[in-house]
Point group: C2
Chain length 238, copies 2
DNA sequence: TGTACATCAGTGAACGCGCGTTCACTGATGTAC
DNA sequence: TGTACATCAGTGAACGCGCGTTCACTGATGTAC
């Protein structure tokens, strides 16, 4: 399905090798372009121009612009998840608060360093583009990492900090796929708390990156750091 | 600065009248187009075509496409704020929880009914467009309404539900402009809580509207309703 | 190892479409005397 | 009230640019005998 993966897994001939190299080169140039122009303005012709090849040649590697965008989407989802993983790798599993702060900052740092890529993932849908199923799994990786952190808190027996209330049947049913995706038992209340954290993170990054805190918040770093402390408190992470 | 307001406040001649009418007609058609194509695809030529006039004629009313987008931005900010106000108008001021739920649902309902407009306001920035200062005040209206609600809770002496922690000096300083914008005294802790609510709301709507809850959450309405209850609890709204 | 054929990469022109903005011009509306 | 002039709305052509995708073709690489 994904063009990148059409190539044989191991290059046997010079052609196979060149194909893999050029596919990578096209994707790389596409990423470079993304840093300047935004997902909707991605241009197959411009990429070809930058690589010094005919625009039609690109179609030997990606059957359409949409396939290119799909490849970029997947790459960015993976990359951001990698950034979060790297960030948490430096912290022992049981130091929940530190891990949370590291992970959230990992995501934010990646977003700040890759603003158009963030917009591609979490901003407005690209006009005329419908994401295929291939992107679903990669898209889940980052939220799954945060879910895992919260599930770890449950395993370690850490109580939630925020006030509790019962979770209605309807809501339990609505969250069934997510509850299952965690892969281990997690309490309803804690799961719902996790479902508050994810929109908070995306909302905060969206507001910051898209300029909505402009002239309202004077120190983005300090503010983000303090909000993380608050959320940690609510989640009972210490 | 805003073209719409260049017209004399009261139409004195047939020309003035026609100018006001056509300016409105252009904006209306732009809004209609926005429902179909997304902010980046807004086309001056298409608007002119729809109105049966030469594309160059539009420039008598809006000096550039950017001015048109600015007018749309302002209109949408005002409209969404109006939706929130209308929603809370039906609830007595002291019924804080009900007001909160009504306001949040008011915003969500507007967003669901005006998805491209939501993307214009809170999605990726429009490529090549830089929002002028004119948009800053209208952009503050919706968050200000939620701030006012939370300030009301303080006035009514309602305690916060979530666990408390001290607000560092740095963070106080960072939030100074917002604290001042409330127009009445508000405690630091409560202000910070408010600063958690806004990203949560935008994040939740962004995730829902841009398809990130697809196949994860099965009942968007029930889920949103429950999250609102949680946030109300944290804010101490009853 | 050498030849004949098949496969594939890459080219360059073309199709058919879009866009924002400018400009010289016409004809209608408004204004001052 | 009527005329002369100024103002402005709207036109249609043009400028200069962009895009995704297709297609017939060439020449190089790979494969089977």
């Amino acid at each position: 399905m994904i063009p990148v993966m059409d190539a044989p897994s191991a290059p046997r001939t010079a052609r196979d090798f060149a194909r893999i190299e050029l596919t990578r080169a096209i994707l790389t140039k596409a990423r470079e372009q993304l840093a300047e122009v935004g997902p909707g303005e991605l241009s197959v012709r411009q990429i070809a121009r930058d690589l010094g090849m005919a625009s039609s040649a690109v179609y030997r590697y990606f059957p359409s612009r949409d396939h290119l965008i799909t490849a970029l989407l997947i790459q960015c989802y993976e990359e951001s998840a990698g950034a979060v993983e790297t960030a948490e790798a430096g912290v022992p599993r049981e130091q929940l608060r530190k891990r949370w702060v590291a992970m959230a900052n990992g995501l934010r740092d990646w977003a700040l360093a890759n603003q158009q890529e963030y917009a591609l993932l979490y901003g407005s849908p690209v006009p005329g583009y419908a994401a295929p199923e291939d992107t679903v799994l990669p898209a889940m990786r980052v939220p799954q990492l945060f879910l895992a952190l919260i599930a770890d808190a449950e395993e370690l027996g850490v109580p939630l900090g925020a006030p509790s209330m019962s979770v209605p049947r309807k809501e339990k049913a609505a969250l069934a796929p997510i509850a299952e995706s965690v892969g281990r038992p997690i309490g309803d209340e804690r799961l719902v708390r996790a479902m508050l954290v994810w929109p908070f993170l995306i909302g905060q990054l969206t507001l910051e990156l898209f300029g909505h805190l402009h002239k309202g918040v004077l120190d983005y770093d300090a503010h983000f750091a303090h909000l993380l402390d608050r959320v940690a408190l609510d989640l009972g992470l210490t």
